[in-house]
Amino acid sequence: MTTPRARLAALARSRHRPIVTAECPSADGGTVEDLHTRLATIAPFVDAVNVTDNPAAHAHASNVAMAIALSQRGIEPIMQIVCRDKNRIAIQADIAGASMFGVVNFSALTGDDVTAGDEPQARRVFDLDGPQLVSCLAGMKAGTYLSGRTFSTPGDFFIGCVENPGAPPLDYRADRALLKVNAGAQMVQLQISYRPEQLEAFMAACVANGVAERAIVLPSVCLTKGAKALGFMNDKVPGISVPADSIDRVAEADDQAEEAYLLVRDLTAHALALPGVAGIHITDFRHDGSLQRLTEELHIGPRFDTTSDRSDPTSELKEHHAHNS
């Protein structure tokens, strides 16, 4: 078993280069070996990998199992936890269990509703909401369950949350991010945005209210194969809208796949240039090496770390221990 490197927390402290995270593909069967085969086109090019928690209310291999599977191979997971499927007892048990295996990064989400999934008959839970789950994680980081009973973390938790810069009420979104940072969030990963002007406004507000300084803010982009996928996201995915001119740009191109890639590269470059942005989160639905290409063409990720001591995982480990002692 590989000891967790806490690379994400170290990078959040140093911020000496853009931080790159990516979405882990969901697993519906297969072995851990199969999972790592699929991750080979992603993990080497990013700093940490988000393992999702039944995304879009579809059942998949659990967030806890996936986080452990990554952690044991030296890939740093960010274990997402949604409030939809479990009550506060079960959620805290998952956090405690995952932490035994070296998982230290957790991200709190409200979660898509059950009606977004393929089992809309399911009971929705939402015993906690996103900001409450952040505070619950902060409590466990500090040494207690919600009940007040003692919990000791083997590693120092790094607490994440999410926010959607493109969902109404737009002028409140940065305030909601601040609420979660005040509750203990150290990272804010953003919903995929195809509207640069919305991201600009959100980031300006996060710089003004201190969120961008107190937490790492990572906008998200999504690599798709063409206009059809963009249309699907616009129509079916809660909280994501794709402007018609972006869909047209891809649909009218001779090479749709190339144009879809270039659209994302433009969005990524734009996001990384904004004040307050600490890095980027990438979801890859192409699985054709585009994620690697994106990191190489923009010179981002662990392979473009010019600080030599950072590229040595053991130095991060030492730093992590020094920080904790």
């Binding site: 509703d113 939402f126 919600l146 007040g148 009973r149 969902a167 009420p169 005040n182 509750a183």
Partner: protein
């Protein structure tokens, strides 16, 4: 809370608040801090602001025919007449997890007895230590 008097007060509270605010009798009323908009009418019963699924036109992810409860709450917290300023600002507070043991009881009684102020012993609120 139990007993005939508390039960009668809860019944009166329900009769008064249900038609106006679609009150769900959570027993820990926060209407004053949410622009007089009941967060328990959100399909996800979110107490701390809107989820990321709000549609572009401000309607609810779950029930598109309905305006997002939190879009409405934010608008009202800013614009509703006669609302004290402190109430308007309370919308930014972090409200603690719902105490499900209070469901069906009178929030008026729980307010007077301060029972609705009790939070889980390990609840830090926004007082989380920062690293």
């Amino acid at each position: 809370m139990s007993g005939p008097v508390d039960g009668a007060i809860a019944a009166i509270e329900h009769v008064v608040k249900a038609p106006i605010w679609d009150c769900r009798m959570c027993g820990q009323c926060v209407l004053h801090s949410t622009g007089m908009t009941c967060p328990m009418t959100c399909p996800k019963t979110l107490r701390n602001g809107p989820c990321g699924g709000v549609r572009e036109d401000g309607s609810c992810e779950v029930e598109p025919q309905m305006q997002c409860v939190w879009v409405k709450a934010h608008h009202r917290a800013e614009h509703l007449p006669l609302l004290p300023k402190s109430w308007r600002l309370h919308i930014r507070d972090l409200r603690p997890p719902v105490d499900n043991s209070l469901k069906g009881t009178s929030s008026w009684v729980n307010l007077l007895t301060r029972r609705d102020q009790q939070t889980p012993p390990g609840w830090l609120g926004v007082a989380a230590p920062h690293s």
